[in-house]
Amino acid sequence: MDFGLEEHQDQLLRTAQQWIERSWSKGTISSSVGRRSLWVEVVENGWAGLLEQTGDGATVLDAALLVEELSHGGCSLPIVGGGLLAPLTAEVAGLGVPAGGAGLLAFETGGETEPAARGLEIFDSAIAVRWTHEGGSRSWEVAEISLDDAGLVADQEEERFSLSRMADAEVLRSASWAAADPSAMEAVWRVGAVLTAAELVGLARAVLARCVDYAGTRVQGGKPIGGHQAIQHRLADMLAGIDQSRYATCWAAAHPDDQMAVHQAKALAARDCVSAIRAAHQVMGAISFSAEDELHHFHKQALLAANEFGSANHHWTALERLSS
């Protein structure tokens, strides 16, 4: 076993860090125009489509490390859905993907609310995926849809990310749906679970760093609040949950066909990284629940990542089924 980064992984993460430092600024990301221009840079960096079988041979572990690093840097672009999973899904379904990428819109057939996804406003088209439960398995269908005139409603335009829902169901009804191989799609969804776990780890690491910085500088009663054991122990617990999730995710990313490993990684990350971020509000006090501090962006993004490609509850239940 070797827990150090390989040379190409180290290079990948350095590039990600440099890009975050150079390009990521609050002014740029607060508009859809800014996010579109940043997405062009993501494509130029070779990160969109990294996992395509026709790509450069990057592994799921490479992709997970990249996703963790980008989300740690505060990146809220739809790297997992639009960047990595949409091309992979299109490839499995025999569809082509535009060079600039496509959004990923995934939903269960017959759901009671409009399908929603992150970052759709960046793209002209989306790979739509829907599934139906039949007995103990799922059947899958995939279609490419145009996002022009699709009735997109951006609910979170003011956030660092955007969350859009499809208010016009006709676009989905009239799409050319094609059945996709269930085992191939389940494999794609396992990769999605691993990558969203990695995103959660990156977000939680970023939040812990913010908390440590705050606790070390926020003075109350004549000393930094980080000198109090109540705060110290809460931060230690955050670190425990993050470390546990981080290496469970790395292991799963190295074994994406191991169902148990993937379920465990996503369940742990969705439970413990979100818990860590919730705990951060308590450490940072009143400013943390105002929109004037950035913590709420991280929290909301984590909640989205926790529920994409299966929530914690979904994965615990899957583990119960696997062990029965």
Binding site: M1, F3, E6, P224, G227, W316
Partner: protein, 394 residues
């Protein structure tokens, strides 16, 4: 980053499994109780069997009688022993003792003890804590006074694991006054004292499990030769600190593997026993906790492998050993709580050895001590925050 074992380690794993399959583990007589750390009880016969294979000194230098094997082989062996429920209680502590002797000891002490440790004949307990020096270890009052080419030790130690069953104690005593030494951390010396030294009395402490695991040691004019000093005179506390991260790592490395085995046993029991008109596993609360604890145990196992990789590459470990030790012990308590909910009142009924219920009884009643021994969870969380996260001490 990769998670593949080298071929040599995989071959060694098979060798260990073959050895473990030769004889049922319960056939090895226990000479002391299981501390609940995932290493099982102490069986002298089992330790001798390991010694005959050269596995106690597996990683020691060849020129000192060791096997010269890489650390990953030792990790593989320990996990296999833990998965099998083998009675290897003193093995990891002894290895740390041996590593101290290899690193810091004088030739006389090393030459006398290493062969006996490698053969499974010499075993070591730790005499650090005192009645009024627990988490504040530097408050210890045991004194060692030089008298010619001997030291005379007087004092009292407590919570020494398996002291009555092992052969030697490793004791920390003040050999120079705080005033003369300049600080509480200076002037302390580490000694190796044989159990048959005149003036050493061991009092067993009955645990809430109904068994004896810890002892109190009384030292009344115990005389030891000057070559009994481990390391340098006055440097005992630094000697102890040097080994602390490694102690916490080795002391808990096998715990996740052991807990995974316990969870499998609990799972099997919950599927084969009924309560309230259904199998216990059909209780959704039980089923959910089982899969959650399995995931945590698997992840904690991985964290210990990561820490082992850091230590074997001499990388800094500012917080890892303190945090992962705490995580493993608190996980053990959650597994014990689940066992109590699966077994209900049977948790408190003592039965004959080598039964599932007996294992769970022991797991539950020994678990409260886990987060106290080897550094309380409270002290260790503070260590994580100050050493790991860089926060100021309160």
């Amino acid at each position: 980053m990769h998670f593949t074992l080298p071929e040599s380690a995989q071959a060694f794993r098979r060798e260990v499994r073959d050895f473990l399959a030769e004889r049922p583990m319960q056939d090895y007589p226990a000479d002391a109780t299981d501390g609940g750390y995932g290493t099982g009880p102490f069986s002298r016969e089992f330790m001798r069997a390991l010694g005959r294979r050269g596995w106690i000194g597996l990683t020691w230098p060849v020129e000192l009688g060791g096997g010269g094997r890489p650390m990953i082989d030792q990790l593989v062996m320990l996990e296999e022993l833990a998965f099998a429920g083998a009675p290897f209680g003193p093995l990891v502590g002894n290895d740390q003792w041996a590593q101290s002797l290899i690193r810091d000891s004088n030739d006389r002490l090393r030459d006398e003890l290493l062969p006996a440790i490698a053969a499974g004949e010499a075993t070591c307990w730790q005499g650090f804590s005192e009645p009024d020096a627990g988490s504040d270890l530097l408050a210890l009052t045991t004194r060692a006074v030089r008298d010619g080419d001997e030291y005379v030790i007087n004092g009292r130690k407590i919570w020494s694991s398996e002291a009555g069953a092992y052969t030697h104690g490793q004791l920390l005593a003040r050999s120079e006054s705080i005033e003369d030494a300049g600080s509480r951390a200076n002037g302390l010396t580490m000694f190796v004292v044989p159990n048959d030294a005149p003036g050493l009395t061991l009092r067993p402490i009955l645990a809430m499990t109904g068994e004896v695991y810890h002892y109190e040691a009384f030292l009344d004019d115990v005389r030891v030769p000057e070559w009994s000093v481990l390391g340098s005179e006055g440097e005992g506390f630094r000697e102890l600190l040097r080994g602390l991260d490694r102690d916490r790592f080795w002391g808990r490395f096998t715990k996740p593997a052991n807990l995974l085995t316990k969870l499998d046993q609990l799972d099997a029991h919950a599927r084969s026993h009924r309560r309230d008109g259904r199998t216990i596993i059909e209780d959704s609360g039980i089923a959910r906790r089982l899969v959650e604890l399995r995931a945590e145990a698997a992840a904690t196992r991985l964290l210990f492998h990561k820490l082992g990789w850091q230590l074997s590459n001499d990388l800094p470990v500012p917080y890892e050993s303190a945090l992962y030790k705490t995580m493993a012990d608190e996980l053990g308590q959650r597994v014990a709580n689940l066992a109590a909910d699966v077994l209900e009142q049977d948790t408190l009924i003592r039965r004959e050895p080598h039964r599932f219920e007996t294992e769970m009884h022991h797991l539950y009643l020994s678990s409260p001590g886990q987060t106290i021994a080897g550094g309380t969870s409270e002290v260790l969380r503070t260590t994580v925050a100050t050493r790991g996260l860089g926060l100021a001490k309160g």
